[in-house]
């Protein structure tokens, strides 16, 4: 199985990310699906797509559960079955794995995978509370630990053990906003300076407003098929050659180390082995920068640099758009936005564009192999996918 295509992405689509007033999640999902359908004219979505796997985190935003059949049918996928996959911020990364398994099992020839979240109709304190439901109720939520709070607990240790600085974390924000300014789908298409990041108001010390990803409305979709059917359907396809997913303890306090996200590290090892590639073979990567510290820890967990060196790595310029390992060319969760359920497949959407040479002003030259790193909660779920251009 090593290095062989597991399943093939024949198209990907994204809704505009941002504050999308007056639309429901289902409408955002249809928008993302339409943009994916437009890329594959040979596909008759209602007839050819046999199942849909849709990531969505919370029913609290729209007072709506059982959301997958709504989203799928609004996208014209009907009466094919639709399933919602919920793994917090790794919902659609996990949904992608389900889609891959569905294709590899032979049950379906073509499936749709995606994700959606409509978050901005609630005020920030409520959103903070809804997001916190993905942490432990009796031990974390009860103790007032928000998501910025949980990642701040990791940042404090990273600073203490490795000397990582607030400036190094800010450098992640500056880089990702620079990329996001080039992405017409991004929520905040605006560069920010190091000074603006450092002077932004505290959210959970040491994390400031600009260390945090955005509360965003958005949806993402990818269409998967069997590798041997791809050519018939599309000229622009990308193979998935590695998939990994792992768990860590749900609560932070149970972990041996707070400077690594073990679930992501384990998932990466699984995906690298399956894909038969090494970290240095990756040309472009989308990392789960829900908070700037998460991207720094991500570099280390994925083997882009040694443990503890993530802060220095971002300072070196390696993960810049023109660097040796461009990370978050889309702008990441930081600037493109983080509609939590949509994030996993939105990362795949960016890699699809990069590996089919359609990333426009963000295009990484000769990008052949891409990696997506998607975290759920404070890292109880880690999902890694490795993609290869055709």
């Amino acid at each position: 199985m090593r290095g062989k295509p597991l399943a093939t992405i024949i198209s990907a689509g994204l809704s505009k990310f941002g504050r999308r007033e007056g639309v429901y999640a289902r409408e955002l999902f249809a928008e993302a699906a339409l943009s994916a359908f437009h890329r594959v004219e040979k596909l008759d979505p209602s007839k050819d797509i046999k199942a849909a796997f849709i990531g969505q985190m919370s029913e609290a935003y729209e007072h709506q559960a059982h959301t997958a059949p709504i989203a799928a049918s609004w996208a014209g996928i009907f009466p094919a079955p639709a399933m919602r996959i919920e793994n917090a911020c790794a919902s659609s990364g996990s949904a992608l794995r389900c889609g891959i398994m569905a294709i590899m099992s032979g049950l379906y020839d073509i499936v749709l995978v995606g994700g959606v979240e409509k978050m901005t109709n609630q005020p920030t304190p409520e959103v903070t509370g809804i997001l916190a439901t993905a942490s432990d109720y009796p031990f974390e939520q009860w103790n007032g630990m928000t998501f910025p709070g949980l990642f701040a607990l990791m940042a404090t240790v990273h600073m203490h053990e490795y000397g990582t600085t607030e400036e190094q974390m800010a450098a992640v924000a500056v880089k990702n906003h620079k990329n996001g300014a080039l992405n017409p789908n991004a929520h905040m298409q605006k560069e920010v300076s190091m000074d603006e990041v450092l002077k932004s108001r505290l959210v959970s010390w040491p994390l400031k407003l600009y260390d945090c990803s955005l509360i965003t409305d958005g949806a993402s979709v990818v269409i998967l098929t069997k590798p041997k059917l791809a050519k018939k359907l599309s000229d622009n396809y990308v193979h998935i050659i590695g998939t990994g997913q792992a768990q860590d303890t749900f609560c932070l306090h149970e972990r041996e180390s707070l400077t690594t996200v073990k679930a992501a590290k384990t998932a990466a090892q699984e995906a690298y082995k399956m894909a038969d590639v090494r970290p240095k073979d990756i040309n472009v990567a989308e990392l789960h920068d829900c908070f700037t510290i998460a991207e720094i820890i991500g570099y280390e967990d994925l083997g882009f640099c040694r443990p503890g060196q993530g802060g220095k790595y971002v300072e070196s310029g390696a993960p810049d758009l023109k660097g040796s390992m461009p990370v978050n060319t889309s702008g990441g969760l930081k600037s493109k936005g983080h509609p939590v359920g949509a994030t996993g497949t939105a990362q795949i959407h960016e890699l699809y564009l990069q590996l089919t040479d359609q990333a426009d002003r963000r295009q990484v030259k000769d990008a052949k192999i891409g990696l997506a790193h998607n975290l759920g909660g404070s890292g109880a779920t880690g999902v890694v996918h490795i993609l290869k251009g055709s």
């Binding site: 103790n143 007032g144 607990l153 010390w205 994390l207 707070l258």
Partner: protein, 102 residues
Amino acid sequence: MVPPRAICSNCRHSRVEWVELSQKGKLVTYTIVHVSPPQFKHMTPYAVGIVEMPEGVKIPSIIRTSRPEDLKIGMQLEADFSPRPQEGGWPNWPRYFFKETG
């Protein structure tokens, strides 16, 4: 194991017993929360952290301190308990918290 549970996640053994923990522990990490859910708004900003007990387990907790700027990794903290919470509402807490040793 904190919280207590029926099966050990590491060895899957289910013959577990209750162990009383010390009152004092060491601060492993902390943060000061400035943006909180509505239920915690009245006490924002507040400090939360993880405390390691001499028995080896770690406990997440609110840290009651009048000087959050003095918190340091490795410092000693002491467990304390609030009276039993009133009925209803969330969060009806805390059952425990940590404070500076005095």
